[in-house]
């Protein structure tokens, strides 16, 4: 438990093939469905839409207001039709963190598929009860005067963090900002760092 093993247990694989073949046979699963899933999640999505929305919000105060007040309308401008997102803003006074303690809800359309750690018991159990200790272990120290506000995704609303724009990026264009904005910053387990300090 807790290890990200490669997942090739022959018993599991045989169960998947069995169900897959029966669903193909019954016309429930399309013959190209698995290939389409791989294409969609490996090639076509990822944290890019979320990062683009954040970069645009940093560059354009009107877009930022729209992203916070009406995420559906803001995402439509990036050609994404997604009505179930809430965007929560990090400020000097508040640091936001997203979790799903009951399963692993995550805003797939803007962030892609979740990393394994997001779905594991260690993160899901601790994010609500000791988020500062958890964040410190993950490399982010949130000073005590700053509130840690955790969003437990218990319904169908999904949450994405709008991180603070780091100092030293004032002269960067929107397109130059996008690659600085990591998935982890959009979940709230990291902050965005200027390029010089990035790994």
């Amino acid at each position: 438990m807790g290890k990200n093993h490669p997942n090739v247990d022959p018993y599991i694989v045989s169960r998947v093939r069995a169900l897959e073949s029966l669903l193909l046979e019954k016309g429930i699963l399309a013959p190209d469905a698995v290939d389409r899933v791989i294409q969609r999640y490996e090639a076509d999505t990822g944290p890019m839409v979320g990062a683009r929305a954040v970069a645009k919000a940093w560059a354009d105060p009107d877009y930022k207001r729209l992203l916070l007040a009406d995420p559906k309308a803001a995402l439509a401008r990036l050609d994404l039709d997604y009505a179930m997102l809430m965007v929560v803003e990090n400020t000097a006074a508040v640091h936001n963190l997203v979790v799903c303690t009951l399963c692993s809800c995550y805003p797939w359309p803007v962030l892609g598929l979740p990393p394994t750690w997001y779905k594991m018991p260690a993160y899901r159990s601790r994010a609500v009860s000791e988020p500062r200790a958890l964040l410190r272990e993950m490399g982010l120290d949130v000073p005590a005067p700053r509130e840690v506000r955790v969003w437990d995704s218990s319904a169908e609303m999904r949450y994405m963090v709008l991180p603070q724009r780091p100092a030293g990026t004032e002269r960067l264009t929107e397109a130059e900002l996008v690659p600085l904005i990591t998935r982890d910053a959009l979940i709230g387990v990291a902050e965005v760092r200027p390029a010089a300090a990035a790994r």
Partner: protein, 226 residues
């Protein structure tokens, strides 16, 4: 149900283990499980709440041991067998077949073209809001208290937030109610709220300083605040 899936606030799982350069899928079968879940939901064979409850009914030790997509496989298989979409016997026989032929294509067993199926619902992935015209009982700023309840079935009121006092942050509109939708009792949509809880209310003297948790809770989980 007070299952092992309800992890908020549990202790003993150790540090978060991060995998550098994690692939989207660790094996093709994971993508196959995702495709089957999409197929089952988009064709209306099961809904998201039935799916989640299917996973919650795993034996606790198995739940903790299983990887994410193994949990999904458990949930999907349980529902499709319960609903009679696939038979337990044909599934077991087919598993033995593929255990002996691990590299065979899943189309190997096809004897003819699959039957044509009706169109699926293209909005299934986000179809949870119901504009019923119901008036929310609570408004932003209202003090509320969550019910202290331990239903045997599916619920989205986490154990750590039962019998706790909070404040309504906002109303998300009228949403499908998982506690009934997971059990064939209909959608019974009701107002959904973001409720803010101070960490001290949730964790008492063990709370970290200056922390709050916002949880999305349906109206029937809430009572007027004390």
């Amino acid at each position: 149900m007070d299952g092992v899936h309800d992890l908020g606030g549990m202790q003993g799982f150790g540090p978060v283990e991060r995998e550098e350069n994690e692939p989207v899928f660790h094996a093709v079968w994971e993508a196959a499980v995702l495709a089957m879940q999409h197929a089952g939901r988009s064709r209306g064979l099961f809904n998201i709440d039935e799916f989640r409850h299917g996973i919650e009914r795993m034996a606790p030790a198995h739940y903790l041991r299983a990887t994410y997509y193994e949990k999904w496989l458990e949930g999907i298989t349980r529902l499709l067998v319960e609903k009679g979409v696939v038979g337990a016997e044909e599934l077991a026989a087919r598993r033995v077949f593929f255990e002996g032929k691990p590299d065979a294509s899943s189309a190997t067993t096809l004897t003819g073209p699959p039957p044509a199926r009706g169109a699926f619902n293209p909005r299934w992935a986000e179809d949870f809001i119901r504009e019923t015209g119901a008036t929310p009982r609570f408004a932003p700023g209202d003090a509320v208290c969550t019910r202290e309840m331990h239903p045997p079935g599916h619920t989205r009121l986490p154990r750590y937030a039962r019998g706790k006092r909070g404040v309504v942050h906002l109303c998300h509109g009228i949403h499908v109610f998982p506690d009934t939708n997971a059990h064939g009792q209909g959608e019974q949509p009701q107002p959904l709220y973001s409720v803010r809880f101070d960490a001290r209310e949730l964790w008492g003297e063990s709370a970290e300083p200056n922390q709050a948790v916002h949880i999305d809770l349906w109206e029937s989980y809430l009572l007027p605040g004390r």
